[in-house]
């Protein structure tokens, strides 16, 4: 009896001792890759670079949605091109959207608030791109490569790093254009640090310029990069965009520099697509006109934003979605009557670019923004190829989004010339008439030198580049976005009314103002 007790006691003491020794609770992720084991070869760096490009088109690590990059918003809403497009197009005369999603109607009417989810989402997307690029630059330094014994990769990575800096500069351009004074964080800014200081629009502008100047020689020559990647053509276009709008951004005139960059682009291997509408079809990756595009693919690169949004949302009413290579209509986007009026004769204009309009069952005027059949439809992005074949997938189009194309360079050249940048006026007229000839199918739409005015160029930019996310930038540059210029539903009324000047800039998102006490909100908000 006593030995039993003793044994039992011994057993308990033993178990207690063994048990209490066990306090190590560390467990590391087993199914995800950590920093320690990810960068084992060049492919890993290439995949990370691919993410920086994919940040313009996909929204997470699963296509079309899943493992989202940006939180706090519907994943499809967080897509780069969709966000950029909505902020640059919806508050202009180019488009209205009929959906009631929170914050979306206010983009039509310029009555947005700092809490607007689309404003928030695009700001977050810009800084997602910037911080991911920063992380790429941190992970690919010579020191890091030496640590990992990968010095042999350094030369290849030099171009990768230049591309990362280009993409960061591109996003900073969008940031300074839409939001003005934003924080400037580069790869020297550590993760998890205290919130950064606010920089001025001029400081961001200078940073972007200096970055682009530094990396110029490390990118391939114009047209020499793989499709979808940045080269010196894309770089010159981005520089031209900055210079063209320098008066808005810094107050200084940089049109001469714009001409230099545009010459660099125009002398490159680019040429106009013979048929205007072919630039927006499922096989538009073959367009000789594209300088930098955001590729989408129905099989490999799927998103609910980008041209998925642009193609589906433009359909509704009597439109048969299948005719556009799509499974169904989303009943969203139309154009305002004011935009239709930019074409002589409206929708029946001899200008072939109006062939895009769909008017059957649609009214010109928009009494109710939410009713798709009010306002002409304009299905510009179509998931069919130039030979009439369907895209590879009826939901996720193959149509790539043209970020920069030659027609834009032509029109910028003409405008910079008229604004005293030193270009040749006859050259400018020739560029504009090249676009007119393509649009009319012959020279009947060509203009004379006396018709080549700044106002004409603004209208021509709308006719040529509508729904390509340029309109707000152009209207701001021409001073016609807020206090001047009226179109349907601007200011929240059907006939339109002017709005306050502060709306030339979007507000810094309310989330960001709260998370970063160093920031001062844009005036007016």
């Amino acid at each position: 009896m006593r030995t039993h007790r003793f044994k039992a006691l011994l057993l308990f003491a033993g178990v207690l001792l063994v048990g209490t020794g066990c306090t190590d609770t560390l467990t590391e992720p087993k199914s995800t890759i950590t920093e320690a084991n990810v960068f084992t070869n060049l492919d890993a760096y290439r995949s990370f670079l691919a993410k920086l490009y994919a940040g313009l088109v996909t929204t997470g690590q699963e296509g079309p949605a899943g493992q989202a990059d940006i939180q706090g918003i519907d994943e499809g809403f967080s897509q780069y091109v969709r966000g950029l497009w909505q902020l640059q197009t919806l508050p202009t005369d180019e488009a209205v959207i009929g959906w009631g999603d929170a914050g979306l109607p206010e983009l039509n009417t310029q009555l947005w608030a700092a809490t607007n989810q689309f404003v928030n989402a695009f700001y977050a997307r810009i800084f997602f791109q910037i911080t991911q690029a920063n992380e790429f630059l941190r992970q690919s330094t010579d020191e890091k490569l030496a640590e990992r014994g990968q010095q042999d990769l350094a030369s290849t990575l030099r171009q990768f790093r230049a591309e990362a800096r280009f993409l960061r500069a591109l996003s900073y351009w969008h940031g300074l254009d839409l939001f003005g004074d934003i924080p400037l964080v580069d790869e020297t800014f550590p993760i998890g640090a205290t919130p950064p200081e606010q920089s001025t629009r001029e400081q961001i502008y200078s940073f972007v310029l200096s970055e682009l100047e530094e990396i110029g020689n490390e990118l391939p020559l114009p047209g020499a990069a793989q499709y979808g990647r940045a080269d010196q053509g894309a770089l010159s276009m981005l520089l031209a965009k900055l210079y063209m709008n320098a008066e808005v951004y810094t107050g200084g005139s940089e049109y001469a520099n714009a001409i230099i960059e545009l010459d660099n682009v125009i002398s490159g291997p680019y040429e106009l697509m013979p048929v205007y509408g072919d630039n927006f079809l499922a096989d538009n990756h073959r367009s000789p006109e594209f300088i930098f595009a955001v590729p989408q693919d129905g099989t490999h690169t799927r998103t609910w934003g980008g041209t998925t949004f642009l193609s589906h949302a433009a359909l509704g009413g009597a439109i048969n979605a299948a005719d556009f290579g799509l499974d169904f209509a989303w009943w969203g986007l139309r154009v305002t009557p004011d935009f239709v009026g930019l074409f002589p004769g409206g929708a029946d204009s001899p200008d072939g670019r109006t062939d895009i309009f769909f008017t059957e069952g649609q009214t010109l005027e928009i009494g109710s923004v939410s009713n798709f059949t009010e306002g002409y439809a304009a299905p510009k992005y179509r998931n069919v190829t130039s030979t009439g074949a369907m895209g590879s997938h009826p939901t996720f189009p193959d149509v790539d989004f043209p970020m920069f194309r030659l027609a834009d360079a032509y029109l910028m050249y003409a405008e910079a010339t008229l604004r005293g940048g030193g270009g040749f006026r006859d050259q400018a007229l020739a560029y504009v008439n090249a676009l007119r000839t393509r649009a009319y199918g012959d020279a009947s739409g060509n203009i004379t030198d006396s018709e080549l005015t700044l106002d004409f160029i603004l209208d021509e930019r709308a006719r040529e580049l509508f729904w390509e996310a340029h309109r707000r930038v152009d209207l701001v540059r021409y001073g016609q976005f807020t206090t001047d210029g009226v179109w349907a539903w601007k200011g929240g009324v059907q006939q339109g009314q002017t709005t306050a000047e502060f709306r030339n800039l979007y507000p810094l998102p309310s989330n960001e103002i709260l998370a970063n006490p160093n920031l001062t909100q844009n005036s007016g908000y």
Partner: protein, 997 residues
């Protein structure tokens, strides 16, 4: 000690010797006695008197006789419900009658009951914290599928909300929500083993506790305040639900309980009928008239049904003193009132208890397992049935599936086709058990040690098949989908603790200290195939497909703790409890290794003081407690920056090549548990031997370091949000409970035991931003728009308050819909109040308004009996809870008719409101959903004597009635207060019998 042993040995030998000798003559006598109430001397009937292996009952005069008792000295035991057991020595002399009077003291009801606490148990009279116990006889009745439903409405401050689906999700909130990001569900402790709630073991299952057979549950104890729950440290912040299962008792016993039931839908959403719908189309979308059919289809009726259910439970128990067992088997089958929904469960349990080593070692083995088979209604069927135009037919001979579908793909899909063609089934095996050894040291009175080894293993598989002919599949472009989700989980726990309990003079000291370890691993594997080439194999084979995806995620959790507790009692009336726990968990980041969780409580039994000498007062105790608990029910690996590889559909195009991406994620290496500091003051009272008893509680809790996934300053982390500990909120509330034995019907007379409980809880978010700004986090996704949210987390408002535009009302209080500013159209500027006064109505004018949490929760239970009949019912009520009527808002505007060539049905509210465009964020859709519900009522008849003794017949009605002003179908629209095609609540009629012999 040794002397005692020797003596008992001698007695045993002597007894054996004596009984071995055939007695020449029976040297016996008899015992005659009487049992009386010690206070009043009144005779007691039906007292169980046992002496010398014989048992008799007293008669109406309290008398009993035991004859033929062999001569000798015996201990006579008397026991009766409501009295303390009494014992008395009696000596029987051969041929004589021994007379005896036994006096029994009334036992104050409940005070001597033992309740389980963390790592121990305690008499009710000695409790210092807030612990509520619900025993089997008080449980809710009727068709109970999941254990939580047993205590719905039974305990003050405990809100139990089920989703009405058979075996579906049940949420418990003890004293309100303590967290936003982490789980708000309490810790469940099953027979001493903490269940790994939130782990993969229960992933995909409808409900974490649905594996348990409610018939096996003996009692459920709720540790409400921090001083009780702090012994569970970083797992205790949401309170603890301790579930004790039934064990065997000496003497063979056989129990069967079986029932059948029918369930019927109560209430339908108020959609337009075919005539109203046609008229609406005529007026507001005349060009859609051509697509309308001529039917009058009730789509909701078409997808619903009267549901049948049955349940059988069989238990065998028995054994001898020192060795008992109980084995039970259960079968349950319950259809849902929506077609396609069904649950079937087979369960088995075993409890075995063995004393060894002269009763100093006690071994308990407790294990149970179940197989649950869930059939699910395809997601969307209810919504489709709500929104499908009533003018359209159900079937179409010419379509591929035989079901009618709209020509326009934007149209609502036919729910009957989904029901017919989709299969969605889950099978889950789960077993939970433990071996517990308790050793009481014979040489040191009051010292014992306990070791417990627990396990929880589960395997889960869900298989879904959506054939390629299905309309919804063809629209997505991925026609034909097979999905398999497999999950296996294993969890082990080890608890080792010692207890020392001893009385020194007028002091009693009770010390507990120990160590706990828990570890679990879950493997989640998933397989998806899309664009399958062949429908005929269903979910069982994928001969070919265009897209296949696999997913594997392994999660390991480890958890180590030390804990200690002291209970000190002086003079039986001054009570003190203090505890301390130290936790370490794999979920904490490398910067936060250990957490401390202290608690303290004091109580004073005033009723035992000499200066309180009011006879009617049987109990009066003041209590106060304080404690810190934690919540670590958040995802693992939050502290690690991981690189996520993109899939084949999210590649980047480089030339003609598509490159897979990788992306680093944002992380906070300093993440740690959420912390709750809470205070409680309470009063227990009892009158008339506790025939009337109850308690009052007031508590306030501060939930700190709440984990939020919050926006971070742009540029400072790898995404716009990071998950970190930054928020604070407060909960405070009042609880009252009263239990009255209104009639105590001895001898089969009328007996009525009634209990009431009332509680309030006020929640307020204090801050969610480290810089103290008025941050806003939107929650509560709704149908309507994309990514629309109707609730908010904002400092100064209750958690998940509705976040709405304030609709301007007309003189009748109805929301207006007119061009008030005369600009020629009706838009937000006409309809809503300009809250921020900037002259423009936009999202900035949304404001917090009401909350889904009730101001008051009320519960009432009555148990009555008269002769062979028993009757019980449970009433629950909530006051001041609000619901967003999403069915009305998502279908409540005429523009919906024009948005496609397949007009969906509208909610009748549109006829009154006249909204042309969607008004998702209008406060017109926030409705007061206060209600009073008769949860269940049960009538039983028991055979007390005769050949059918032990048989009880019963009939139950659940959800008997609900009184509410809410216009939707169910004021308990889930825990989040958003009524969007929730599973309809049914009225269930159950008839059954139990047989116990």
């Amino acid at each position: 000690m040794r002397m005692n042993n020797v003596r008992s040995l001698l007695i045993a030998l002597l007894t054996a010797f004596v009984s071995a000798i055939p007695l020449q003559a029976q040297e016996t006598g008899e015992i005659r006695g009487r049992v009386v109430d010690a206070d009043f001397g009144e005779p007691l009937i039906d007292v169980l008197v046992s002496v010398a292996d014989r048992t008799v009952l007293t008669d109406a005069s309290g008398s009993f006789v035991v004859t033929d008792v062999p001569a000798g000295t015996y201990t006579l035991m008397a026991s009766r419900i409501g009295f303390r057991d009494a014992s008395q020595e009696v000596t029987v002399v051969s041929g004589q009658t021994a007379s005896i009077e036994v006096r029994m003291e009334v036992r104050p009801i409940g005070l001597d009951d033992i309740v389980v606490t963390g790592y121990g148990e305690r008499q009710v009279r000695d409790l210092t914290g807030v612990i509520a116990n619900v025993s089997a006889e008080e449980f809710n009745t009727g068709r109970i599928i999941s254990t939580e439903q047993l205590i719905q409405g039974k305990v003050a401050g405990v809100q139990v909300v089920d989703d009405a689906e058979p075996g579906g999700g049940v949420s418990i909130r003890i004293r309100g929500a303590t967290s936003v990001t982490s789980s708000n569900e309490p810790l469940y402790v099953l027979d001493g083993v903490p269940l790994q709630v939130g782990s993969g073991i229960e992933a995909g299952a409808r409900n974490p506790l649905s594996f348990l057979n409610p018939d096996d549950i003996e009692s459920i104890t709720i540790l409400k305040d921090a001083s009780s729950a702090a012994i569970y440290g970083s797992q205790g912040a949401n309170g603890v639900v301790m579930i004790t299962t039934k064990t065997g008792a000496p003497g063979a016993r056989f129990q069967y309980r079986g029932s059948v039931s029918g369930s019927f839908v109560v209430g339908q959403p108020d959609m337009l009928n075919a005539e109203q719908f046609r008229q609406a189309v005529q007026e507001h979308a005349p060009d859609r008239l051509s697509v309308l059919g001529n039917e009058n289809t009730d789509w909701r009726d078409a997808v619903q049904r009267s549901a049948f259910g049955q349940e059988h439970s069989l238990a065998v128990s028995g054994g001898t003193e020192g060795s008992t067992y109980r084995v039970s088997m259960g079968y349950l089958n319950q259809e849902g009132v929506v077609q396609g929904s069904e649950v079937e469960r087979i369960s088995l349990s075993l409890a075995y208890n063995q004393d060894l080593l002269d009763e100093s070692l006690n071994i308990q083995v407790n294990t149970r397992g179940s197989r649950t088979n869930d059939l699910f209604t395809p997601i969307g069927v209810l919504g489709q049935a709500t929104a499908f135009a009533p003018t359209q037919p159900m079937f179409d001979e010419n379509s591929e599936t035989g079901f009618y579908e709209w020509e326009d793909p934007l149209g609502v899909n036919n729910p009957l086709a989904e029901l017919d063609l989709i299969s969605d089934e889950a099978i889950r095996y789960r077993s939970v058990g433990n071996v517990t050894a308790e050793y009481a040291f014979p040489f040191l009175d009051g010292l014992s040690v306990t070791g417990r080894l627990g396990y929880d293993v589960g395997k889960f598989e869900r298989k879904t098949f959506e054939p390629s002919v299905l309309r919804s599949q063809q629209e997505g472009g991925e026609a034909g989908t097979v999905t398999r989700v497999n999950n296996t989980g294993t969890s082990w726990t080890v608890d080792l603790y010692g207890n020392f309990n001893r009385t020194f003079g007028t002091s009693n000291i009770d010390l507990t200290g120990g160590y706990a370890w828990a570890q679990s691993r879950d493997d989640d594997t998933r397989f998806f195939a899309q664009q399958i080439s062949f429908d005929q194999l269903g979910p069982d084979g994928v001969p070919g497909s265009e897209i296949e995806r696999t997913f594997i995620f392994v999660e390991e959790i480890k958890f180590a703790s030390f804990f200690g507790r002291v209970n000190y009692t002086l003079l039986d009336r001054y009570l003190l409890t203090a505890s301390l726990r130290r936790d370490r968990s794999s979920k904490f980041g490398p910067d936060e290794q250990w957490g401390w969780f202290p608690s303290a409580a004091v109580a004073w039994r005033l009723s035992d003081e000499d200066f309180v000498n009011w006879d009617a007062l049987s109990d009066l105790k003041l209590r106060a407690s304080w404690g810190i608990t934690g919540n670590q029910a958040f995802d693992s690996y939050q502290a690690f920056k991981s690189f996520f590889i993109g899939d084949a559909l999210a590649q980047a195009q480089f030339g003609d090549e598509f490159v897979t991406t990788i992306r680093p994620s944002a992380a906070d290496p300093g993440i740690k548990w959420e912390q709750t500091e809470s205070w409680n003051v309470g009063l227990d009272y009892g009158f008339f031997n506790n025939r009337l008893s109850g308690s009052f509680e007031y508590y306030w809790m501060s939930n700190e370091d709440l984990i939020f996934t919050v926006p971070v300053a742009a540029g400072t982390n790898l995404s716009n949000f990071v998950t970190t500990n930054i928020g604070d909120q407060e909960n405070r509330g009042f609880e009252a409970a009263i239990d009255a034995l209104i009639f105590e019907g001895r001898d089969g007379g009328f007996s009525w035991d009634a209990s009431f409980n009332v509680s309030t809880n006020d929640n307020e978010i204090v801050q969610i931003n480290p810089f103290g700004g008025g941050e806003v986090i939107l929650t509560g996704g709704i149908a309507g728009g994309i990514g629309s949210n109707i609730q908010v987390i904002q400092p100064g408002s209750p958690i998940n308050s509705f976040f709405v535009l304030r609709h301007i009302r007309d003189s009748n209080g109805d929301p207006i819909y007119e061009d008030t500013n005369g600009d020629g159209n009706i838009n937000d500027n006409d309809l809503y109040e300009d809250i921020n006064g900037d002259g423009v109505i936009n999202q900035d004018d949304r404001t917090p308004f009401k909350s889904p949490d009730p101001d008051w929760g009320v519960g009432h239970t009555s148990l009555m009996s008269y002769r062979n009949f028993d009757l019980s019912f449970t009433l629950t009520a909530q006051i001041g809870n609000y619901v967003y009527n999403n069915i009305a808002s998502a279908n409540g505007f005429f523009a919906g008719l024009r948005d496609s060539n397949a007009p969906p049905n509208l909610h009748v509210s549109v006829l009154e409101n006249g909204f042309q465009d969607e008004q998702f964020f209008s406060d017109a859709y926030i409705e007061d959903a206060s209600f009073l519900r008769m949860n269940n009522i049960e009538l039983g008849y028991s055979f007390i004597t005769g050949p059918l003794e032990g048989l009880r017949l019963f009939g139950t009605v659940q959800n008997v009635f609900t009184l509410t002003g809410y216009s939707g179908i169910d004021p308990t629209a889930g825990i989040n207060g958003i009524d969007n095609n929730i599973f309809p609540r049914s009225r269930t009629f159950t008839a059954g019998l139990s047989y116990d012999f």
